[in-house]
């Protein structure tokens, strides 16, 4: 289906009917030690939704990499339950006081599937590849933007220098897009070739890739360097994994039920109930780390430059109703500007709820007392109006129309403008909008820097994701300090203050916590839930006969 489908599948997995029923513990990484002994052999059939048309982790931003990353490559670190980095290819590391120098001690005896050795030089080649313009890296590169250079102490010790303090550097290295690729492959292949057959050191090797059709992986016999947390070692049990691109939600669900596939990476929310009640299927609905599904206000221009108007609009949005209508019971309402499973999430930075009376009172207070023929508020002849550009996907979920209807109830006019994907992107970075919705998933609270630091406001230097154009010196200060310390108490305090400040400044309306829905057949045992992305890891999964 069309690439805009990634947006659609994201939007389609929106808030559910009732409050979240008990779902799998967030971020637990225990291996499901099934009653019987793991069986070696067999091929896992996995259905995914949309082919990113390129599989080089460093070169794409598609969600697919959250699963493929741990199939094909290994990362330097792996997050533990608390969200702190734990040893993987990097056995240990030291951070300089000014948080600008990071010294990594690398695991020995690790090789890539093309024979290249994993050493300090390999890590440097990877970092340079992520930042090389030719790679056109949309995500990996920006995450390690502060990287300046590094000094190879010896084959298994690397000293990395950053241009400025950035403690989250360690955490982001655990993400699927920042897996280590073979330096030999990086040197000898063009970006296009890397797209076609990337080479990693992971438990499986890419054996076939037909665009828009299927990807095949085979077990790597001599794999023996999983993250310590897996409490397991040796090669994978599965002979291989066959992935099919199945764009149509209905087809993906029914092919899972009919047994054509043993796992699917994207379960549509509307089919969650059916999977839960299906005896031979296992349902997974895991919350994710990052920034919840939120409606951003563009605070740099009217009408949302006025705090009262923002607080009024926030009070007018009936989040529970939205979640009830479009989430099919699989979403939890967001409480603040961080997903609840994110490290240093502050539960008492609570966002005020739905209160139409307060909304009307605030709007009157802000001077929007007049009413035009259609019932919309006016002030000095101008109508209280906001533009919400939306891209057309096959099934635009009705969240925009719900918000439009709820805003109208308090006399606030919201125009939902349907535009093609390319125009939306142009408007986004030009700041030509009043409302934009979105979600940002990463595995560190530093997402607040990405979303609300004035440094992240799109300008001529970088595109930036601070779409609310919020620029608050206090928040900037706290976020900068948070990037310089690893002291969790200090971080808890800093991030707490940021979250509370955001609740006061109302740069947007958080609606529901981001979560990922996937499902596996009961025949598939030993699936680990990744701590960074809450997606399935098949390293030590196995198929019962």
């Amino acid at each position: 289906m069309s690439p805009s489908r990634t947006i659609r599948s994201l939007v389609a997995t929106l808030a559910g009917l009732s409050l979240l029923t008990a779902c799998g513990g967030a971020g637990t990484s225990t291996v499901d030690s099934g009653s019987t002994q793991p069986v070696r052999g067999g091929t896992l059939n996995l259905s995914m939704s949309l082919d990113p048309l390129c599989l080089d982790p460093h070169a794409i931003s598609s969600d697919v990499e959250q699963i493929f990353g741990h199939i094909l490559t290994d990362n330097l670190v792996y997050l533990d339950e608390k969200g702190d980095p734990s040893p993987w290819l990097a056995t240990s590391w030291e951070i300089s006081p000014d948080a600008k120098t990071y010294t990594f001690h690398l695991r020995k005896g690790v090789t890539f599937s093309d024979g290249a050795v994993f050493d300090a030089q390999a890590v440097v080649t990877n970092f340079e590849h992520m930042l090389d313009p030719a790679t056109r890296s949309p995500l990996a590169g920006p995450y390690i933007a502060p990287y300046k250079d590094s000094k190879i102490i010896d084959a298994s010790t690397l000293e990395v220098h950053l241009s400025r303090p950035y403690v989250p550097f360690l955490t982001v290295l655990a993400q699927g897009w920042l897996g280590m690729e073979s330096p030999k492959a990086i040197k000898e292949n063009t970006p296009a070739q890397l797209c076609e057959h990337p080479v990693g050191s992971g438990p499986f090797v890419l054996t076939g890739y037909t665009k828009n059709q299927s990807v095949t992986f085979a077990r790597r016999a001599d794999y023996n360097w999983p993250p310590d947390l897996f409490k397991h070692s040796g090669p994978a049990y599965l002979d291989g994994i066959k992935v099919d691109w199945v764009g149509q939600d209905a087809v993906r669900f029914n092919s899972l039920v009919s047994g054509q596939y043993q796992a699917t990476g994207y379960l549509p929310a509307q089919n969650a109930q059916a999977v839960k009640s299906n005896p031979n299927l296992e349902y997974h609905n895991n919350n994710r780390i990052g920034w919840p599904f939120t409606l951003d206000f563009n605070v740099s221009r009217a009408p949302f430059d006025d705090l009262d108007v923002r607080r009024a609009f926030a009070a007018a949005v009936n989040t529970p109703a939205i979640i009830q209508t479009i989430g099919f019971g699989q979403r939890q309402p967001a409480t603040g500007f961080l997903d609840r499973v994110t490290q240093f999430y502050d539960p008492n930075a609570k966002f005020p709820g739905f209160d139409p009376a307060k909304a009307n009172q605030l709007l009157d207070q802000a001077g929007w007392t007049g009413r035009d023929a259609d019932g919309y508020r006016t002030k000095d002849g101008k109508v209280l109006e906001a533009q919400l550009p939306v891209t057309q996907t096959a099934t635009v979920s009705p969240v925009y129309n719900l918000i439009q209807a709820q805003a109208k109830a308090v006399g606030f006019k919201v125009n939902v403008n349907l535009l093609p994907l390319t125009q939306i992107t142009t408007l986004r970075y030009a700041g030509d909008y009043d409302l934009l919705s979105g979600v940002w998933h990463t595995n560190t609270p530093d997402v607040l820097y990405i979303k609300y630091a004035s440094e992240s406001i799109p300008n001529n230097k970088r595109l930036g994701q601070n779409l609310s154009h919020l620029s608050d010196p206090q928040i900037d200060g706290w976020l900068e300090q948070a990037r310089q310390t690893t002291d969790s108490a200090k971080l808890q305090d800093l991030y707490g203050k940021v979250q509370q400040r955001l609740v006061d400044l109302v740069p947007g309306v958080p609606i529901y916590d981001n979560s990922v829905l996937w499902a596996t057949s009961k025949k598939l045992q030993g699936v680990i839930t990744d701590t960074s992305h809450a997606t399935p890891v098949f390293t030590y999964a196995w198929l019962t006969r």
Binding site: S2, A250, V257, Q392, A394, T395, P420
Partner: protein
């Protein structure tokens, strides 16, 4: 050469036009669709956009004759309100295509040999690009929404009408009654205006009734690919592609719009064919 046409008619043609039941049904259905398009508020029990409190995927019965959709909205009301965009797509696209096609066809048919080959090459170019790619390009770059979808479908079907009009113009231009009219001493422009144009255009008008059906179908296809009407407007194609996502939850959501689109296209085509059969019967 005196071709004497005395061969007896081996097969006496039954020209008596019996009102076949199919025709009546088609006429009735189209009437219902047109009524729904004109005064939806009278026929629809609920507001098509209102999020029903009773919840989603309700089966038919109770307050909702056809049940509710994934957002709890009343399917019957949305179907009634969906009639107008489909008819507007069908009639609008065909009207634009026929006018554009006729102008081009006449220009090619009556103009000089150079203008004719130029226009025919242009038509070849537009025809060479598959209809859907053309529509995709127009919509994706001019923005989705039912008006752009209508123009896209119209633009893609102009060539076929142009070709028909051009061929018909050539036939009429060389026919005996045009020569006879010139023989009467009538000015060339009057002959064209009085005889060539009306006779060249008539078959196209008849064919266009069948074109309406195809345009509705093409519009639904665009909605299926996500390029049709903008939400939350109720539009059959959109409801259909939406319904497909929830096919395991409630197959009604797919069945109702599919049947509606098929029956509408079918009945318009049946009426169109009847019109063509009658007019051909008269003009040969």
């Amino acid at each position: 050469m005196s071709a004497f046409t005395a061969t007896a008619a081996v097969l006496p043609r039954t020209s008596r036009i019996r009102l076949r039941p199919g025709l009546i049904l088609a006429g009735l259905f189209v009437a219902v669709v047109v009524a729904a398009a004109l005064v939806p508020q009278l026929l629809a029990p609920h507001d098509p956009l209102a999020i029903g409190a009773e919840g989603a995927f309700l089966p038919s019965g109770g307050g909702h004759l056809l049940g509710t959709d994934e957002s709890g909205r009343d399917v019957l009301s949305r179907m009634v309100y969906g009639a107008r965009p489909s008819l507007v797509m069908g009639l609008g696209a065909t009207a634009i295509a026929v006018t554009g096609g006729t102008l081009l066809g006449l220009a090619a048919g009556l103009g000089s040999r150079l203008t004719e080959s130029l226009i025919m090459r242009l038509i070849d170019v537009v025809l060479s690009v598959p209809e859907l790619l053309l529509a995709l390009v127009v919509i994706t770059l001019a923005g989705a929404g039912s008006t752009n979808a209508m123009f896209a479908v119209a633009f893609a079907s102009i060539p076929s009408y142009a070709r028909i009009v051009r061929a018909q113009t050539h036939i009429v231009r060389r026919s005996t009654f045009v020569e006879a009219a010139t023989g009467l001493g009538i000015r060339r422009s009057t002959v064209i205006w009085r005889h060539v144009l009306p006779n060249a255009i008539r078959p196209v008008l008849v064919l266009s009734t069948i074109g309406v059906g195809t345009a509705i179908s093409a519009g639904a296809a665009l909605s299926f690919l996500g390029l049709g009407a903008e939400p939350p407007a109720a539009e059959w194609g959109d409801m259909l592609s939406n319904g497909l996502q929830y096919i395991s939850n409630d197959w009604f959501l797919v069945a109702v719009p599919s049947v509606a689109i098929t029956l509408t296209v079918l009945s318009i085509t049946v009426l169109g064919r009847e019109l063509r059969r009658r007019s051909e019967g008269r003009s040969t």
